[in-house]
Symmetry: C2
Subunit: 413 residues, 2 copies
Amino acid sequence: MKAEIISVGTELLLGEIDDTNASYISRRLAAVGLDVYYRHTVGDNLKRLVQVLSGARRRASVIVLCGGLGPTPDDLTREALAELTGRPLQTVPEAEMRLHRFFAERGRTPTPSNFKQCQVPRGGELLDNPVGTAPGVWLQHEQNLYIAVPGPPPEMREMIDSQVLPRLRQMLKKNGTLWTRTLRLSGLGESQVADLLADLLAAQDNPTIALYASPGEVRVRLATKAPDEIAAQQVFAPVEQELRKRLGPAVYGVDDETMEVAVGQALLAAGATLAVAESCTGGLIASRITDVPGASRYFVAGYVTYSNQAKQDVLGVPADLLREKGAVSAECAEAMARGARQRSGADYAAAVTGIAGPGGGTPEKPVGLVYMAVADAQGVEVCRQLWPASREQFKQRVSQTVLDMIRRRIIGG
Amino acid sequence: MKAEIISVGTELLLGEIDDTNASYISRRLAAVGLDVYYRHTVGDNLKRLVQVLSGARRRASVIVLCGGLGPTPDDLTREALAELTGRPLQTVPEAEMRLHRFFAERGRTPTPSNFKQCQVPRGGELLDNPVGTAPGVWLQHEQNLYIAVPGPPPEMREMIDSQVLPRLRQMLKKNGTLWTRTLRLSGLGESQVADLLADLLAAQDNPTIALYASPGEVRVRLATKAPDEIAAQQVFAPVEQELRKRLGPAVYGVDDETMEVAVGQALLAAGATLAVAESCTGGLIASRITDVPGASRYFVAGYVTYSNQAKQDVLGVPADLLREKGAVSAECAEAMARGARQRSGADYAAAVTGIAGPGGGTPEKPVGLVYMAVADAQGVEVCRQLWPASREQFKQRVSQTVLDMIRRRIIGG
């Protein structure tokens, strides 16, 4: 079955915000086995929105719209669905009650325009929105299913995960719905993974096994058709066990688990704490670690020692060392990690020092050079890399690698 | 004149990466006065790529494709343009020479597949790519101009800014090309700005003045048609002067200048240095400051003091204060800022402490509560806010506000 995604909003077409919703919805639809061949972005304009819908409904069975469900005259997704299908908008009394309650709980009064959000094309249903005022729309018309979700990312994610996906799975059940489980790997290239799994990739057809490579990461996706999640997990379990045996500690997470989540889990499992000392990543590693709710249980402190003076004062890096070896050196990375561990009292401490560029490089120490270190009670491990890239890509890649070094050090991988 | 943007890549449709290229290109096309009514995303599939192009060429004069210019069989943008226009692919000898040179400079040898990148549909031109191997395509066919740029963001940006936009301006010159200048504001809501500028918004028609609001920011966009940039700036200058007089220090930047760039400029102008102490933002403020090339000239150190112990040890926050007032308090924010300033020796120090959530809130100190402080030689300024939001939105909003507090403290606004 095919699906198309339509992102609605003039602010998207003007480039004022990045459309992260479209990629989220894409991942979720892929996970239930819907193929997305096209995505579209259209502004807050009724005629053009109807035009895009008219094209999409000829190509795809399921059409997911995101955005345009707010209370203002600019929000036209409901109106476009009504016009496309010839089904007039009708008010849903339960939705009116919910809206009154939502505002009352927050000590506010809804305006008349808010009640526009309680309307749905005749024959459709509203999807409840527990975190905002805009309900979603679920509308079957002729051969197509139309699903509309609100644009604010937390509202969109909540509605997709807790309402849209379960309904889609229910609907796809007759065909046996697709379930997937994706292992995320670090430290191995795509061809290495393909070699390690060659026989499995060739032989296996339930679950199917596929490799996906994206910048800095390889993923192994298992997929099977099954009546429910438990049955699917039974198909996955023995294969996952074999994959984990072959891939070892390269498997850092499953599905949406990020590297920072994996580091947190490893620390919690070990009952250990962490500190980081950063130069060229400038706080990005600490920021990623603390993106995980509950990070305060294991993250003690981060030191962004950008100047040489700060490296001396905050981390106790010797002035001699900085003079003789320079701030971008294995010795400095090691001293930073030791200093961070000692001063924070954390069990593990990581450090990074390098040249992010675009300026500041020399023939001996070019832009992209970086030293990364992890210290624990047993000692310090240092790794050198040369990654010439844009400043943002460099920071991202270094932070990912340092987080993986921490994770492997903890789990002994 | 209308334009459409087509993002090419199966990894986009699978949601593996966010399409930040599309928003970048959208902003750039808007800046030269091209209206983008639709954007599309399509996978690495020749038939579907040609299908999207066929629709786009009926609606828009200018079609910008991004991605699919690499050397692999999956890269099909050139092939799709050839098929759509009936113009066969031909090799450009200068491009072959450039490719040899590119590889030789890096001590590598091109593979036969790399030479696919030297082809262009007959009658088209290749756009040079100084930062990668994939040249762009510039092809006029019948009523449409087709422009193809590579997918890696640094290559895309370089090609759009240094080659595509100047050529588009040249082409649009006959009509008098559109120039824009956008003032970015902080600390004022959209309606406040509208009130302050009411007479100008009503009366002004050259340049036109328009307001745009996006999360946490209002922008004032000036636009005029002029033969070149100098003539445009002459139209903008008196109006910008008047706007700056009315809006004062709320204007923090122009066009693509971010708040972290504005903070860096203010520090450089004042010859001053900065340190930051972060709790709930977890390193994001330091990371944003160091996203700016050359930040080492003014950024001394960041302290991510997540635990109470770290707040005491690293910043010297008194244990008594933490016990009596708690870590999320005006007193703690002030002590953190003073400690960061004193220990780093920086001229300015900012501090932030709050509850990012989703857990950790209490009735007295709910999720979203935050105290922000800025210290300098004159004293400490503390600000309290309550921003219940997702963890990522909270961190983003707090970091933006703290950066603005630093900026205003430096410029005395």
